[in-house]
């Protein structure tokens, strides 16, 4: 059974919402995934982030607050049976497989999507992350002790943190070469003048980092970097061997 929220008002169930996406929004406005059309609910009231088997609730600065089991919360790791209250409406969280609730084990465990069917459901191809998601095979990989509880269910959202790191470039700002730019296509790009000052920009899962290799430490936004790799953000200005260049992402 996949995770879901059961919306109710005064004890009467109104509707069920599967938590099938990484982000599920709750609020009064129609653009929310879970629209609760009541004035006690803010336009953008709360957000639920779902990663594999687990869901996490965050209040988005709502006027009347978000409550879980009667307690006001800002952020909350949802556990099976939790009741979320927004205004007068209640959302019961149903997920018997939430990993986060097994609080007693110390062993490292692989979080697996909750499914066992060997027959992949027909999928419609979407772009980007959705396609990657759809292509995942539907085979269970539960540790034996959990496998017994597993039952068929749709694939919950997969993490895809590093899949879409955008390409980036550096552009020279001064001197004869001003305006020249270089796309950072390589995992490791070397910049500078041999024997004077050399640095590299490396691409990691979480972004681009500059590291000193030879000569004095490169200067980023007026500050020399240390021995650690320095993360680069949009419009950072790197000063290397007297040449200033700007880092930016290609959109």
């Amino acid at each position: 059974m996949s995770a879901k929220l059961v919306l109710s008002l005064n004890g009467a169930t109104l509707r069920e919402f599967p938590l099938a996406r990484e982000r599920t929004t709750i609020g009064r406005r129609p653009e929310n995934d879970i629209q609760v059309d009541n004035l006690a609910v803010s336009g953008k009231h709360a957000l639920i982030i779902t990663i594999l088997n687990d869901s996490f609730l965050e209040d988005l600065g709502s006027t009347n607050g978000t409550y879980v089991n009667g307690k006001l919360v800002k952020k909350h790791a949802l556990q099976h049976g939790d009741v979320i209250t927004v205004g007068k409406h209640e959302l019961r969280y149903v997920n018997e497989q939430a990993s986060a609730q097994d609080s007693d084990f110390e062993k490292t465990m692989i979080i697996r999507p909750g499914l066992v069917s060997r027959v992949a459901p027909p999928v419609v191809r979407h772009g980007g992350a959705a396609a990657a998601l759809a292509e995942r095979p539907s085979v269970a990989h539960y540790p034996p002790e959990i496998a017994a509880q597993a039952s068929p269910a749709p694939v919950p959202p997969q993490p895809h943190t590093d899949v879409h790191l955008p390409m980036a470039k550096v552009q020279v700002l001064n001197g004869a070469a001003a305006g020249k730019q270089l796309e950072l296509k390589k995992a490791l790009t070397t910049l500078g003048k041999a024997g004077v000052q050399v640095a590299v920009i490396t691409r990691r899962a979480h972004g681009y980092f500059i590291t000193q290799v030879e000569g004095p430490n490169p200067v980023v936004n007026g500050q020399p970097i240390g021995a650690q790799a320095h993360p680069l953000v949009e419009n950072d200005v790197i000063d290397l061997a007297g040449v200033k260049m700007e880092f930016s992402f290609l959109s």
């Binding site: 982030i49 990663i51 594999l52 687990d54 996490f56 952020k75 790791a77 990993s99 986060a100 097994d102 609080s103 110390e106 062993k107 490292t108 465990m109 692989i110 979080i111 697996r112 995942r136 095979p137 085979v139 269970a140 990989h141 539960y142 540790p143 034996p144 002790e145 496998a147 993490p159 943190t161 590093d162 899949v163 020279v172 001197g175 070469a177 020249k180 270089l182 296509k185 390589k186 995992a187 490791l188 790009t189 070397t190 910049l191 500078g192 003048k193 041999a194 050399v198 490396t202 691409r203 990691r204 899962a205 979480h206 590291t211 290799v213 240390g226 021995a227 650690q228 790799a229 040449v243």
Partner: protein
């Protein structure tokens, strides 16, 4: 080119104080410039099988692959060196082997392993990892974690849901979101880093990083780093002194001197002087 005289390596895998058996596996090959560490998971000792398979397949594949492919050569399409691509391929092979074994043997169902591996060549290192086994680097007295865990905790931090502090309080640290051998394919993170003489690299399983913080690691590496076997021993002792709740594995690699690939102009012959 053998890297035996350019790199120094030492490693220990310790069962810890609370586990009956060791599901971690390590391997080093200083000649090839290769270090691999795996932390297996799965019931009925299947974790041991997974980590052992991962390490042996990766070492074997790279021994074969490096015979005919210069690791420093750049693949223009991917932006990675052949070295990095060989590592990725080897991890893919390991994944297939483990996945297939898990399908065929009921007692191995659900087994998998985290992994971190280093391949050194041409004054740089290809780093690959899956799961929460980590790579740290000590350079000029500063410690830096070069890998980002594939764990529920890290995923929540990446999405801005929790600060690292909040995540430590609210999320279990031992839930990994990626592992080798649990799906027909695996997505390993791949990165290339420049290596400087004097650098000290530490590969470790979460049995160390859960129990010894960055500062504790830095202090020990700084104090005992001149003798790698002792430094490795001290790290394991620290983790055991803090509870030894899991298997503890560490590999240390010291870059002693430059190791450029033999070609004109040294390792930054591909350096870009485009702005001069």
């Amino acid at each position: 080119m053998s890297l035996r005289n350019k790199l120094q390596m030492a490693g220990i895998s310790d069962v810890g104080l609370r586990r009956g058996h060791n599901e971690d596996r390590i391997a080093t090959d200083p000649r090839l410039g290769l270090a691999v560490l795996a932390d297996g998971m799965g019931g009925y000792r299947a974790g041991e099988v997974a980590s052992a398979m991962a390490v042996s397949v990766i070492v074997e594949e790279l021994r074969k692959g490096l015979r005919h492919n210069p690791p420093q050569r750049l693949d223009e399409d991917s932006g990675y060196t052949l070295g990095s691509l060989l590592v990725r391929e080897a991890i893919g092979r390991a994944n297939e082997s483990i996945y297939q074994a898990a399908q065929e043997q009921p007692q191995c169902q659900g087994m998998g392993t985290t992994l971190v591996s280093l391949l050194f060549y041409d004054n740089q290192v290809s780093v690959a990892h899956v799961g929460d086994s980590r790579l740290y680097r000590l350079r000029r007295g500063e410690i830096e974690q070069l890998t980002a865990d594939h764990s529920l905790m890290q995923e929540l931090i990446d999405r801005g849901f929790y600060t690292p502090e909040e995540a430590r309080r609210n999320v279990q640290k031992n839930l990994v979101t990626r592992a080798v051998g649990v799906d027909p394919t695996v997505n390993a993170d791949l990165q290339e880093e420049p290596v400087l003489p004097g650098d000290l690299y530490l590969l470790c399983s979460d049995g160390l990083s859960d129990l010894v913080d960055d500062e504790g690691i830095r202090t020990t590496l700084t104090r005992y780093g001149n003798h790698l076997p002792e430094a490795a021993e001290r790290l394991v002792q620290q983790a055991n002194a803090n509870g030894g709740t899991d298997n503890i594995s560490v590999i240390l690699v010291r870059a002693l001197r430059p190791f450029p690939a033999r070609r004109h102009g040294g390792w930054y012959s591909r350096m870009l002087d485009w702005f001069t």
